[in-house]
Symmetry: D2
Subunit: 433 residues, 4 copies
């Protein structure tokens, strides 16, 4: 896990040993990205089955490009870029930084090869190591490096999402990594309990010293009416009941756009559910396996989450209800390391056992993704990080089993368009009382 070194030095001049601690963080995060890719075949790095999914090769190049572009080219005077065309190839959406390959074209680009991309990463890593060893970065530089590492950790989860999509849509259903199934039964077999929260004015938003994204800044007050919220996620078994009750064929449960989405895409189950001879299977990173009814339902869109809630005559919590409930229940941030270290590749929802309320799956909320009262975007290209996406998206909270543990905090705001579901998304229900 990333140390707190970054937060400690934020805003002050740095002594040389701080630079070394930063380098240590840098190397650990960058290694983790490579570790994630180890089970892949070369071919898996290249393809892009849908525009939302990027080829793993692109993630590897793009996260290196971030450091090259925003640190090395900007602050390391003697740095020579690896290849002048890489800016064009590995820029994602930063309009400030020039032309770029159309997103939907990323899967058409066979070169640079995977090997060349690894070499690009090494080129950047060597230069970063050199830079941090021989320079004392000022606080601005430290902030950007910290952002770059958080950015890379976000891409680690994207990598997993995209790898799952690539392998899970292959007719051969190859496993990402096989392993023994956990011996203790996962998921929940008992009913969800409701946690009651009283009405009042609450504080929300990030209010500390450590790293946070611009979109969670702006500590502010909200008024919440009294509500109750479930203490665990909805399970596959519960979702199957919704399906068996005709959930996907009854327009009354659906938002109008959701109903169009269901009909246009002929949606009739969560993303990775596959029915074979009357039996439901689910593709997971360990391969195709029988659906586990006690595990939390995952890979659902906002439309599906909302329709399920409507069928249950409840609703999704707002992002602030969710955040306040976290604080009040003093839900523990999951202590264990993430799946790379544990080998658990599935959400396990042990919420009730150990008061760990979240961290299994991103949870859809009823909140649109909008700026906080005092939101102000950064100057320059980094200002394009979060703000410009604040329309037509819904907020998810909590983090998933594939999220870096350091990103799991009550104020963290994730966001996706309401029809998307290749992310590790689930839901819990709430209602006013």
């Amino acid at each position: 896990m990333l140390s707190n070194s970054i937060a400690d030095v934020n805003g002050s001049d740095l002594a040389n040993d701080t630079a070394l601690r930063l380098l240590d963080d840098y190397q650990r995060v960058r290694q983790q990205t490579l570790a994630l890719c180890r089970p892949l075949q070369t071919e898996d790095y290249v393809v892009q089955p849908i525009a939302d999914v990027s080829p793993p090769k692109w993630h590897l190049g793009h996260t290196a490009w971030f450091f090259e572009q925003f640190i090395l080219c900007a602050y390391a005077n003697d740095y020579i870029p690896c290849n002048k065309n890489y800016n064009y190839i590995f820029n994602s959406y930063y309009e400030s930084v020039g032309e770029r390959v159309f997103r939907s074209n990323r899967g058409n680009i066979s070169r640079p090869t995977v090997e060349e991309v690894f070499a690009y990463r090494k080129h950047v890593d060597d230069a970063m190591s050199d830079f941090l060893t021989h320079h004392t970065p000022n606080s601005k530089v430290v902030d950007i490096i910290a952002l770059g590492l958080q950015h890379e950790q976000q891409h680690q989860e994207l990598l997993l999402m995209d790898i799952k999509y690539i392998l899970g849509h292959n007719p051969l259903f190859p496993a990402y990594q096989s392993f023994e199934k956990a011996s203790n039964p996962s998921g929940s077999t008992s009913n969800a309990n409701n946690i009651n929260i009283a009405e009042g004015v609450y504080d929300v938003g990030y209010d500390g010293e450590g790293f946070r994204f611009d979109n969670e800044e702006g500590h502010h007050k909200v008024f919440l009416h009294a509500f109750e919220i479930q203490d665990r996620l909805i399970t596959n078994g519960e979702f199957l009941e919704f399906m068996q009750a005709g959930g996907y064929t009854d327009f009354r449960y659906w938002l109008s756009d959701g109903w169009e989405w269901v009909k246009t895409n002929k949606v009739d189950a969560p993303l990775y559910w596959i029915q074979q001879e009357g039996q439901w299977f689910e593709y997971a990173l360990r391969g195709l396996h029988e659906l586990d009814l006690h595990a939390p339902v995952s890979h659902i869109s906002y439309f599906e989450a909302d329709a399920f809630a409507s069928w249950k005559e409840m609703r999704l919590p707002s992002e602030f209800e969710w955040e306040v409930a976290c604080g009040i229940t003093q839900a523990k941030i999951p202590q264990e390391a993430n799946f790379l270290e544990t080998g658990h590749f599935t959400p396990t929802s042990p919420a009730k056992q150990n008061n760990q309320m979240y961290g299994d799956l991103w949870e859809w909320t009823s909140s649109a993704y909008l700026p906080y009262p005092y939101f102000k975007k950064e100057e320059g290209a980094l200002g394009e990080y979060n703000g410009k996406f604040m329309v037509n998206q819904m907020v998810l909270r909590g983090g998933s089993f594939a999220t870096s543990r350091i990103h799991i905090r009550p104020t963290y705001r994730n966001f996706f368009q309401p029809h998307l579901r290749w992310q590790f998304s689930g839901l819990r229900l709430a209602k006013h009382i």
Copy 2:
């Protein structure tokens, strides 16, 4: 203007004279729809240049169908429908009520003719008159009739929007109705002032006895941080400055989806602005005329409103900030009758002169269109009225010159997708203090 008879009787048994007052309202509203269409040629009733615009003929039939479907077929035992195919043709989106013509196909249907649609309206009106003369409707029926009249008034504004689109996109630019230009200069020539609002918990949402839509119900509390809000709308002149400063060509002001929209649609000015030989003109219901720099800018999308605010380093008010500001300033509801009676076909923004803060143009807010805390949709088909659209839309407040005065109230929530701009939309700015 619609009397308050409906509100008076809401929820109680009705004496016969109440039915007659309801009939009187019914006839007045229905006549107004016809009055709106009087300047049209038969051909204007038929076309549908884009899917969002419906042919005027369809509006006429659909608003009749509402009363036929939800009152006459349901409550008038001896009613014989005008034509059994009209349910298929004039249903809008009520999934509960069966199959219907695809929205984008409405402009392909030459029959029934305009004359036959007028006959359909008369058929329904005669039956409604008969029904209300000889029966004492219960409160449920009264509620549905009241809803039907409000629904028809909403379609009156839609009619104007669609007529403007149809005529304003015709190469001949025909006027809807010519008239003398107002002698006193319209619009604002002085700077906007800011109204300051202190932080605190405020009450929002509809809290009275009269008619209200389901989406504004749920009187509840919100916490607002201190902010200031302009006392008038942004003018054409101010928007032109944005354009001249390169507003449409600099991505930094735009949301990501907005920037895509600008580029894909080659947007470079508000909807009805037309440049001829270096001079800006605007198509209005009175025809093509020179752009009035002092009039409020209209027919802009949320994307444009947001980009303008971003350029000004301000932001749009939230719907609650807007609603609270209305209450605090005791902004008067415009007293004069609407344009049909006055012959004013353009927004005039006399805000500062007479403390009439709103009612010229719908004002984009920064709020996504979402359910209020205690929102609950109606049973049956009428439950499809508002709730199912609560995703991917933004709230507009205030009402336009083309809005029935009875709809103009601080709690009324209008909503459109962020790229749409054929509605009578404008903006004012706000910021936190």
Copy 3:
């Protein structure tokens, strides 16, 4: 029927009485267009259900525009155009003549009104009458007027096709014109006979003095191998057998593009066939009626014609086989006037009774629409008439019941893209022997 006056004077100076005979032709043809529209309601003139169909109003304006543009503006010195915007509105595809309304936008244009379009026609007709009364047109002008009249007659058939599409896709299925059903049974009840044609070099293409289109010019030789060709069109009954044999669900009968077309558009019957409670009906200009099994099958695409032939283990004739067969059998050109005069609105296929081989329906041939050996397009805008469409289209021969009789000749080449079927199209079969 158009007199032969045009041919008589072609290429020579004209005496004044020739101009008057031309005027007489002009007036007769122009009147016929109006007669065709008499059964329409105003609304029917306006709509455009698919891009291929033009609003009747547009046909009326466009055919007037042709004479305004190519005769009056070019040769009548004192002519004042009716409205300078009409060139933009009524130009069809002549790139030489400037910008124009996108084809798919024609149905969005409510103005000019139908009445104004009639006034436009009168404006042009008056000017043409004046021009031909007071001037002696040279042979160039006579040629263009002759072309304009042939052009108008082509649009008369297009008008019928488009009116049928508009009314036949309306949920109310209104009749274009009701009339008593013919008392004598239409169509064929006996088997088709085959006509044998010996191999050899044959002459094809137009070789006379009268009017002909540029695409049929270039009298030339072709070698044909011996073949046989049916003496009548395929009937609805025969086509129904194909359907009942699974014709629309067995890919083996279909061209690859045709099979895609069937699946994408869910095609399972000819265009105007409608099944209600197990019974087949057909929409015709006289309204919806029970399918007549003995009438020739109509409104089929090339793909369907080809698939039917494939199922029968035969093929379509080439355009030259068809033309040569006409000459050899001395098939009579139908003597009777067209449907406007007879009131017969359906193909009647009386081929076998009276040796009238063609003129009921356009017949798909196996020939792609390509230039003849000596093809040379006209100079200027009129050169855009036929040549630029010579790719991706198939030739049809023979003419339909809705074709001006003067267009019915063995060398006339009609053409459509292989997926289109709103034209009056049928088929007959051939094979090599």
Copy 4:
């Protein structure tokens, strides 16, 4: 080059040594496919930048599947398929053989890996070797194997086309294989001469004993009017003149569909031409290099070829004119082996020097791709080979530098849709005299 063994034994029982000669051919052709892929990186095998282009990996699998499906599964009793899912993955368009991956999805499939596909080929090759060593195939089997080898050779050219597209659209413009530029100047510097052909009845179509495709069978007669045809291909220099004369911006030269294609796709040069700082470059298999004005223009669509001819006031030859001209001039079939053996990766058009009229580039003809008079498709899945594509395509003749020499014969018919140009296509002109 493939021996003539196949032709020798066609239709008769085979002695065992014939089977061995067939095996020898088999191995030589299969090896050549692998040789073609040798310069590729693993990543290059995977991508599919446009639907028309298939990933090289798919070509490798598909050509193996052909033998597995049509020989081994059908005739080798003890054969065990390599992987039951490969039928789904590697079937191309044979509807008879079951479901398959959508063409446009081929580039989304990372597994089987390249290595696994090579193993698949080896599995099939071993089985084929075993089959041909231990069985005496009957003539039917020999025919299918011969077809399979011709099929594989066709895919060899497709492989080159697709590889060129993949590498030539990569921002890095990697070379497929670098080599020294030929010392002797390629292409033509002198004017084209015209060859005159007299009118008459000519024999066309394949009339021998060797292998031929079903679409070139049906030896038959055609009548040709007198014409002249150029003795060499049009050069880059000549095409540049067309561009400089405004060829891509003047609609008069273009077919209507072609003009739409130019505008929609913003086409302004042949496919691989790239302008950098005013200088024209061309991407070739040896990399990006300065445009050679004397080399034949390549990678043009039918639309471009036709527009060029129109600008020159000439036309493209018909496929029969081309075929007859070949016979009359006794144009030599190029004797040298193909580019794999010579290392020449570009068309060199040495036509005039050595009377080798064709074989540099496929030449667009003015003929639509249609069946010959006596065309009859094969029974079963192999009947889907050519016939079902006979609509909306144009014929190309002659063969390119990347075509297996054994495919280069005067009767061979290649075909593409008129807008496509990733094939190695050029043009020569003709006209009637």
